[in-house]
Symmetry: C2
Subunit: 327 residues, 2 copies
DNA sequence: TGAAATTTTGCACGCGCGTTCAAAAATCCC
DNA sequence: GGGATTTTTGAACGCGCGTGCAAAATTTCA
């Protein structure tokens, strides 16, 4: 049924080793013979069995990708870039969904059992355990959007703090002073750094937050928390949100209350996901360079494959302010 | 470095075959001995190498998943369910992104070389070629959201036509008569069936489309095409869109023109993606049951693995009208 | 207690491939 | 043209695992 290198060898009248060599770029094979073998192989529909190849060799070409809730815009956007970068560089992404109630330990072990060349983890939580397991099994690990305490793993992460400084600077220069913060899920690195950035920047301008609330990075939580903020009697003139989805929710909340954006209140997001520019009020936000992030993640992975003992690196990719009409 | 079954055997004082049996559920092994082996294995951090296992056995546990543009809400939503279903059933999804300019032929061949147990294709286009390649290599194939002409592959697809009938029925009963159609990318199966459903249903009520335009399933195309429809002097009272994203775009367009929804014009979507219920105007739409779709896709795959020669099946999953405030 | 029936175990093989090593073929130089 | 050197080739091995088969160990029954 399945055509193996032996079949090709027989059909081409050479030894099996010959076939293997014909498919190995650097191997020393007579040009004529290689062509002949490749022709026969193609005619028979032969392709080297990557599973068998992975058994002997050091590489399988498989990379585990741990993604958060894919149906969220940012995760999907990042995943798209990650998968594309891996794919076009000859890797095959093994997708592990980090959904709620998922047994991540079991899942990562399962992936590791496939002898993945490495793992890229883009899910906010449960990273510590995963890091340990990867390290124990010797699989290179790269974290995205999160750096581990005491430098426990390679990571690439955007400059959350700088991004928030830029946002705050813009708002302050617009004369806004009564600013509120809408944070995301509490145990995430993004929430921590972004909120820290906001507070630092405000302090620098002699200001402080008028209110703080917390959503879960979803649009719907943006709506409900946004309503709560707007309904309070704080006469806010700006709401800084931890991500775009919540900012869009707050825009919606403002519309429901007849509050003008950005005249009455400015609303800002973070990430600049596709879709932040659309909708009723194009979002002023900070661009999170996911493509560069994906590229750097792969680079870190390959660096560590080459030298598993090198020091952990943390790459900070740059962000840019994207001023639009919401603030 | 890596701990193999031999290491465990040595440490446990048994033969390697013993170790293998201890990890094989159905095998006949003394209970005491199995426990002993498993204990030693755990202590050593041993897990069977799934690559090696896949080499001999008929199954690898790998399933290729071809997804369209992941950053679009519907694709992401479907992918999330697919991956979750596969994952929780012991399969490992190999994600192939069908981005523009991707060499799908090369990518699918590459995945096939990993001896995947099957492929699930959820990307609108380029399915014919993929189907041929899968069949040639004997890998079961399941299409989602598309059925091939002359029944060329197993497929699961929602009942587009019925969904559109329900939508049209609702609009007509509201007294709407000047109805326009905003279609999606031309060569997609969804666009064809949905547009067919609208026309059939309208004809049944003695009506016909007042206008037709075509976007590309994206929100931005919904905005631009929506503006075009609304700016025409057709005094439309309903716009039926081929998916939710475009419908949201049309809602936005209506807002820009100060046209009230649904009082002046009704706007409907399709899929009921998360997010269709949020935003300025919760969408009247048709629920596309992605979870059931994912489940059925896996079922078809497993059915075909068991009997590769059985007739191709096309599962039509049911849809339900979701009336909200947009129409 | 001894032989027969029944587990339980270990040996050996093969999955499809890359790769080492020595033999064979081709090339070279004088 | 013959011997030395280089290139090309093919047989054999191992990667880590599952499994068929026969030997060994255990249990059963009289």
């Amino acid at each position: 049924m399945r055509v193996t290198a032996d079949d090709v060898a027989k059909a081409a009248g050479v030894s099996r080793a010959m076939v293997s060599r014909a498919f190995t770029p650097g191997a020393s094979v007579a040009v004529r013979k290689r062509e002949h073998v490749l022709r026969v192989a193609k005619a028979l529909g032969y392709r080297p069995n990557l599973i068998a190849r992975g058994l002997t060799g050091q590489r399988t070409g498989l990379v585990a990708v741990v993604a958060g809730e894919i149906s969220r815009p940012y995760e999907a956007w990042l995943l798209e870039h990650l998968v594309r970068v891996l794919s076009t560089n000859g890797y095959q992404p093994l997708l592990l969904p980090a959904f709620r109630d998922a047994n991540m330990t079991e899942m990562i072990d399962h992936a590791l059992a496939y002898q993945v060349d490495g793992a890229i983890v883009a899910a906010g939580s449960v990273s510590r355990d995963i890091a340990d397991r990867c390290q124990a099994s010797g699989a290179p690990l790269v974290l995205i959007g999160r750096v581990l305490e005491k430098n426990g793993a390679d990571a690439v992460c955007c400059d959350n703090i700088k991004g928030m400084w830029q946002l705050v600077e813009r708002l302050v220069k617009q004369g806004r002073q009564r600013i509120a913060w809408l944070g995301g899920t509490a145990d995430t690195f993004s929430d921590q750094e972004r909120s820290q950035g906001v507070e630092e920047a405000l302090a620098h301008y002699g200001l402080s937050l008028q209110a703080q609330r917390r959503g879960n990075f979803s649009l719907s939580s943006g709506v409900s928390e946004g309503l709560a903020l707007l309904d309070s009697r704080l006469s806010l003139d700006a709401i800084i949100c931890a991500n775009d989805a919540m900012a869009l929710g707050v825009v919606e909340a403002a519309a429901q209350r007849g509050i003008r954006v950005p005249d009455d209140v400015a609303i800002t997001g973070f990430d600049d996901v596709p879709g932040a520019a659309w909708g009723r009020c194009p979002l002023t936000t900070v661009r999170n360079p996911v493509n560069e992030t994906a590229l750097e993640a792969l680079r870190l992975l390959e660096t560590r494959v080459q030298d598993p003992t090198c020091d952990n690196q943390v790459i900070r990719v740059g962000v840019t302010l994207v001023p639009r009409s919401s603030g």
